[in-house]
């Protein structure tokens, strides 16, 4: 597989070994193993309920795995002694529902974590914030509250908020699924820019355009297992798995 070539190329940032997750009797992730390399932009696709959201949420331990290991930056983060908080500082996450802090202005949303975690002082944080807001084209919204923004604007702020922590990897959990169609592109463009700058990204998405055009690796999850893993060309033009073929047929109609 071509993907193997990629794996050789970059240093492994996240190593997932035999990851399992079940909620009671319901097995959601069943023995998932994958190496995520620095600089990779991975699209995670699959039918709804396949476990792709649980997979990405397990990476920063918002879901606690019931089996297997996750090695991030050389550290076993599933170990009991590991400080999850420190892990999460280095993994940015963008949610489907944005999850901006409703009681804080845009600027304070972004500044809160770097200042409270003493990564920056107030003026540094403010400077960084304004720079990030400029990058996402929202510097004029700095003093507004989330409720005054459109969905697309909220998601761009959420991306800026994660970037303010200077993360090693960005996790996107269906970042455009809650957006009106005309706003999807403004968010995808930001993600595209980010990919070009070499950010390691894991993106759970239904945007096949993004998966094809921007990501350099696509994994297809079905029934809690990785069924397909390869470059966009491999996965989209020559799918091996019949379930993937059905899935692609239904989404690319």
């Amino acid at each position: 597989m071509n993907a193997d070539n990629k794996k050789e190329s970059g240093e492994v940032l996240i190593k997932v070994e035999n990851l399992c997750k079940s909620f009671g009797d319901n097995v959601v992730l069943n023995d998932i193993s994958i190496d995520i390399h620095k600089g990779e932009v991975i699209s995670v696709i699959g039918p709804s309920g396949c476990g792709k959201s649980t997979f990405i949420r397990s990476l920063n331990l918002l879901e606690t795995p019931t089996g297997g290991r996750i090695i991030f930056d050389g550290e076993d983060i599933t170990d009991r002694g590991c400080d999850r908080r420190l892990v999460r500082e280095k993994m940015g996450m963008v949610f489907q529902q944005f999850n901006l802090f409703d009681n804080l202005t845009v600027k304070k949303n972004i500044m809160l974590a770097p200042v409270k975690l003493k990564l920056m002082n107030k003026s540094e944080a403010e400077e960084t914030t304004m720079k990030l807001l400029k990058n996402v084209g929202l510097e004029d919204k700095a003093n507004m509250y989330p409720s005054q923004l459109s969905g697309g604007q909220k998601q761009r702020v959420a991306i800026a908020r994660s970037l303010a922590m200077n993360p090693k990897v960005m996790l996107f959990d269906e970042p455009t699924s809650a957006l009106d169609p005309e706003m999807v592109n403004e968010v995808l463009n930001i993600m595209n820019d980010l990919a070009k700058k070499g950010m390691t990204m894991v993106v759970v998405t239904h945007e096949m355009g993004f998966a094809k055009g921007v990501s350099n690796r696509v994994i297809f999850i079905d029934g809690g297992k990785i069924k397909e893993d390869g470059t966009p060309e491999e996965v989209f033009s020559n799918p091996n798995d019949t379930r993937l073929r059905d899935f692609l047929k239904s989404v690319l109609k």
């Binding site: 920063n60 908080r85 999460r88 999850n99 901006l100 802090f101 009681n103 974590a113 409720s147 908020r161």
Partner: protein
Amino acid sequence: MLAVFAIFCTFSVCVYAENTDTSGSAAESPAAASVPETEGVKSADDLTGKKIGVQLGTTGAILAEDVKDADVQKFNKGADAIMALNQKKIDCVIIDEQTAKAFVSANKNTLAILPDSFADEDYAAVISKDRSDLLKQVNTAIDEIKSSGTLNKIVSSYIPEKESDRGNYHYTQVVSQGEKLIMATNAQFPPYEYYEGGEITGIDVEIGRAIADKLGRVLVIEDMEFDSIIGAVKSGKADIGIAGFTVTEDRAKQISFSNSYANSKQVIIARIKASAVSAAESTVSSDEEEVPTFIDRLYTNFVKDDRWKYLTTGLWNTLQITFFAMVIGVFLGFLLAIIRVAHDKNGRVPVLNVIAKLYITVIRGTPAMVQLLIIYYVIFASVDINKVLVAIIAFGLNSAAYVSEVVRSGIMSIDNGQFEAGKSLGLKFSTTMIHVILPQAFKNILPALGNEFISLLKETSISGYIGLMDLTRGGDIIRSVTYEAFIPLIAVALVYLFLVVLLSAGVSRLERRLKKNER
């Protein structure tokens, strides 16, 4: 058992003879001749099956139970029983003779004391059974006060043969510093103990002072509910109880009685028949017996003897209790809520969570009044502690349980995404809580919190049960001296209403401000 009986017999023997003359028959016999015809109850033999009003914990209340088929209704205050009698809710009131005289003189046209008394009784002080030394000292003191004639002077100043002799003698305490002698009483029982000009005064109070002098101690008076006094003396909250206690066998099992210092009768008060009233009115109307105007009544209830001060002192205490209880309630309530949420969301602090849950269950599962009494009479039983502080602690602890559930519901109403966003940024649970969750939750729960504050303010009206003079109690004291229900009760109600309106306005203002802030 035998010993108890022996003591009991001694009490009966040492009836104080001289006193009987002044307080009893001499003053009463002319009145007896001119008793107008009463309705409902005509004599002591006429009580069977009647509705009898008594004051809770008094001898009258105990003895009335023995009346055949009678419906005995126990009131917290004698004045309340009199009120009920006037409103025809009951047929008669059985109460101590001297108190009865005071009540009847305030209700000359409607009430009368029946000529035949219900029972005779001896008054004695109560002292804890554990303190036989003190009992001995007090007995010696009482004997000395009797033989020196001081006792007689005190009694005849309050219950004079001639009206001109009223108040011709007052005993002032000589000893001004040193160990305290805490006397528990119930200042709703004129002429033995009652409020006058903001001070508790009366026969028992002056006798208490004379006893304290003999003991070389300074008398400190604690006013409380009559039925709380024995408990207070037993628990050590007070050294001695002097409140017109009649020596009874049941009480003697609980507590030691001193030698008796006075005797009295339980008499029956009944309503004068309507026809007799008009006759009485026509004969007295030439005198100054006019129906008081509303202004007169306002004057009697608030201006005379500076009675408004009972309300202002009470209001001040109510405000202090409410404010500080709110502070404790909010602080502790938030803490409890956060403990419970930290457990429910993250599975942390399991032990604290169990404690918090237990606390909330116990506090919400028992009445605030019972909690207040437990804190005062059980937890702080042998500690000399400020009653306002006790009330603040009791109401604060109580309010915390309710506040915590309000806060918890507020926190749970915040979208889980807010918690997850905080987590995903590496923020500590506490940081997310303080900077993100609580500000949002606070805005949502403000109306419910305001509601809790309003309940708390009104709930403090039970503070009177530990003898604390709050607003309600202030009104009660006025009621007990003016024998009027309407004006003091309405006044107290209006003050509470005003406070609640003020509080609600403050809360909605805060609500608007927070809304403006965040849109």
